[in-house]
Amino acid sequence: MAKSDSAVEHATDAPDDVRPGDPGTGIVLADAPVNPGFPPHRPRVTDQDPKKNRSAERTVFTLFYISIAGSIWAVASYLAFPIESGNLADVRMSTMYIGIGSAFALLGIGIGAVHWAKALMSDKEGIDIRHPIHGSDETRQTAIEIFEQANEESGFGRRTLIRNTLIGALVAFPLPAVVLFRGLAPQNQDPVVALSHTMWKQGLRLTKDPSGLPIKASDVTLGSVFHVIPDGLYDAPDMLEEKGKAAVLLMRLDPGDLHPSPGRESWAYNGIVAYSKICTHVGCPVALYEQNTHHLLCPCHQSQFDITHEAEVIFGPASRPLPQLPITIDAEGYLVAQSDFHEPVGPSFWERS
């Protein structure tokens, strides 16, 4: 029984628990089990056998040698595997050989140092004594006195008008900085207006994404799906933002499969329908069209829309149907919009309705 350290005996857990603080619901057992104290130290093989000790020493410096070799290897690989040819296989080689060298360089140091600590450095455990986290009573008393003295000397508690106006000023002074952040977005634009309209207007041709070529109604055969952008999109000054609102999916169904609500019968053209591609949930492109079920699936959150029923939501977290773009054909037989969407596209926003 090697109660080798006197520190152990003064502080077994209970009943002489000397920790500060209110035990609350903690109870001190009168007959708590007794801490047996430290077990005897068990020497390692490296402590007992000089041969093992030397062998461990060899392992450690060998690992450090390996690390050095790894570093050299990595530098050599940097030089030996150029990637400027533009060949991707060279990039793979360069990445791999520099990486292998660096990994050996790092792991050699790490494993070597740990092995050194475990096998060769003293394995006698040490003991620190804990002290209560709070300051001593004397320190705490002094701290209180300092505050009281400061209060007395400044009159912080007494001169209430000074104190309260200071608090008011401190609250007010960041406000200009907050206002400055209005400048993060253009001043002369109202987001609600900008979100409520897209590029689509009467007579604007539907064109293919990304070629921008117009689409004839006859091009859209049953079962096919076209990814559509408005004609002239590439001339728009803020092309991506316009595309983000105006992207449309075009597909042809048997007209008998469509179930338009009153007033929307004319929005399709011979079974060809165009729906906003931007999900009404959080705005991913809803582009997965199943030609037999006529379901659209959003790959982000799995909302599903039934094209035969005006893209109503049949599954997933979305709530509103995808807005439909009313279409027809122009004199040359190309598909054109009848108007803009009749509601804002994309994810919902507070001022939307």
């Binding site: 801490n35 792991l107 952040f181 992207a247 705005g283 982000c300 909302s303 709530s319």
Partner: protein, 538 residues
């Protein structure tokens, strides 16, 4: 008249240098204070270090990347080795990311080191927090350090997300689209926050530059500051330790910083770094060349965030259809509001759990000996319920991939996870609690009677008994060293009233300590071992 200035006795260069520095910095006091500071040894105590070291790796690799990366959404044309993007328009951000990958020697390696280290950073924080939670290391005096650490977890996720979005590729761009949609769904302020954040409509041309500033300036500064505070508290509190022979609430037993701990912890840094480099050497991460430039029209199947944002994405997926209403001429997107509230509530509860548990138990003592998870059955059960809740949300974020890989319908996966989100934590709670109590009973029997040796002997009376091999006293101590608790009792307050709050607290406390098993007393142990000796005498 001159007085001799005392000098260090050591001579030679080291001694002279030490003397030079000490005379200007008083560093010898630091060495004296910390050089032999004791740090207890347990593998789980190294998890926080993994997080710290991966953050160092992130800083090193990230600094390299900033020398090449251009945080700009200016339109450029790619001309480089990756043929499938040759001649394609893309932002300068993606273009420079591709250049780092294919045209800077070692650039791809550093990019992959940075990203793998980022995933490891958040994962290590997560595992570290689980260790702290299940061993009760957050109890007084360490409650505030838990809050600080949890803040670091949030900051790490923010760092991760801002970094994920920087290359301006299709995958991260759609991630930003989702963030944009979520922000827009926030009542009253959502539209304007999105408008200001993106500098106009989504995607705009500002977001990459803004996220870059957050990613390399503001957030790292905050992370560093919080790490500093976190570590100062670790020094102030000294490390916790598991119960063991000789270990008490009043001491710390372990190895001194110099030399053992310095070698182990320093070596561990290189090991963590080395493992990250190995990952980056052999495994592709975030192949932006496949994703291509962001464009609001295309999208890839399997569009997912990095793992640590998965729980939020999954929560979005678990909302049933049609949770949006128009009321007072305003749009109330409960399909967004509800997930945000659930996630917010989850985060707040986890963040302040130490204060909540402290209030329920009423325990204001300092705790430096860790609980074995089984000995605090209710806390462990709460933790298991929380982990289950998080895991279900996390799984939901990969519902589509679960569906294709295990041949399920995606709808079925979602429905099962919706049910599990509610039932799972309840089941996990009761199951864990029962398991903990069963393990406590097993410990108790082990401590009293020892191991079953498998040796059957026949007693003189013809009775057969199995000989139990008693534990030695050190092993036994690990099992029997635990604190005893009882629930808070309803007591009148200073004005003699019994308030509803006090009743509530007492009932919570009764629930918390429900089914607890009283710790053994020395007398019981002695009696059992005496009995065992008699039995063993046959």
């Amino acid at each position: 008249m001159t007085t001799e200035i005392p000098r260090l006795q050591r001579t030679g260069f080291t001694g002279a240098a030490a003397n030079y520095i000490d005379e200007r910095t008083s560093i010898s006091a630091v060495v004296k204070e910390f050089g032999r500071k004791i740090f207890p040894d347990h593998w789980s105590f190294l998890l926080g270090e993994v997080a710290l070291y991966s953050f160092v790796v992130i800083l090193l690799s990230g600094t390299f990347l900033t020398f090449f990366f251009q945080a700009s959404m200016t339109d450029t044309v790619y001309n480089g080795p990756w043929v499938p993007l040759d001649g394609i328009h893309m932002s300068a951000a993606l273009n420079s990311t591709l250049q780092i990958s294919f045209e800077v020697r070692g650039g791809l390696l550093v990019r992959q080191i940075h990203h793998w280290a980022a995933l490891l950073f958040v994962a290590a924080i997560g595992l570290h927090m689980l260790r702290i939670f299940f061993t009760g290391a957050f109890r007084k005096p360490r409650e505030l350090n838990w809050v600080i650490g949890f803040t670091l977890f949030i900051l790490a996720m923010a760092e991760g997300f801002t970094g994920y979005s920087l290359p301006d590729d299709l995958l991260s761009g759609n991630g930003l689209a989702i963030i944009n949609g979520m922000i827009k769904g926030v009542p009253l302020v959502g539209t304007w926050i999105s408008y200001l954040l993106f500098g106009g409509l989504f995607p705009g041309t500002a977001i990459v530059g803004r996220l870059y500033t957050l990613h390399i300036l503001l957030l790292p500064a905050l992370v560093l500051a919080f790490i500093a505070i976190h570590l100062v508290f670790v020094v102030v509190h000294k490390h916790t330790q598991f119960a063991g022979p000789g270990r008490t609430q009043g001491n710390v037993v372990g190895y001194p910083i110099l030399p053992v701990y310095a070698a182990k912890a320093g070596g561990f840094f290189f090991i963590v770094f080395g493992v990250i480099v190995l990952l980056a050497t052999f495994f592709t991460i975030n192949p932006v060349w496949l994703y291509g430039p962001f464009d609001p029209s295309p999208i890839s199947a399997g569009t997912q965030p990095d793992w640590y944002i998965g729980f939020a994405d999954g929560m979005l997926r678990l909302i049933p259809p049609h949770w949006e209403f128009v009321w007072l001429n305003r749009t109330w997107s409960f399909n967004i509001i509800v997930p945000i509230l659930i996630l917010g509530l989850f985060i707040v509860i986890v963040m302040f759990y130490p204060l909540i548990e402290g209030w329920i138990t009423g325990d204001k003592r300092e705790h430096h000996i860790l609980d074995r998870p089984r000995n605090q059955a209710t806390r462990t059960a709460i933790g298991a319920a929380g982990v289950t809740f998080y895991a279900v949300m996390w799984a939901a974020a990969s519902g589509d991939i679960i569906a294709t890989h295990f041949k399920f319908a995606v709808e079925g996966v979602t429905h099962v996870l919706q049910i599990l989100l509610i039932l799972g934590p309840v089941i996990a709670y009761f199951l864990t609690k029962r398991i903990c109590i069963a393990l406590q009973k097993k410990d108790r029997s082990l401590a009293l009677h020892g191991y079953e040796s498998g040796r059957i002997v026949r007693l003189a009376g013809g009775e057969y008994v199995e000989v139990h091999q008693p534990l030695d006293e050190y092993e036994r101590w690990r099992l029997v060293s635990q604190e005893a608790d009882k629930p808070v009792i309803v007591r009148p307050d200073s004005r003699g009233r019994i308030t509803g709050g006090r009743r509530f607290r007492a009932s919570l406390s009764r629930w918390f300590f429900d089914d607890r098993i009283e710790p053994l007393s020395q007398a019981e142990i002695d009696a059992a071992s005496h009995h065992g000796e008699l039995e063993g005498g046959h």
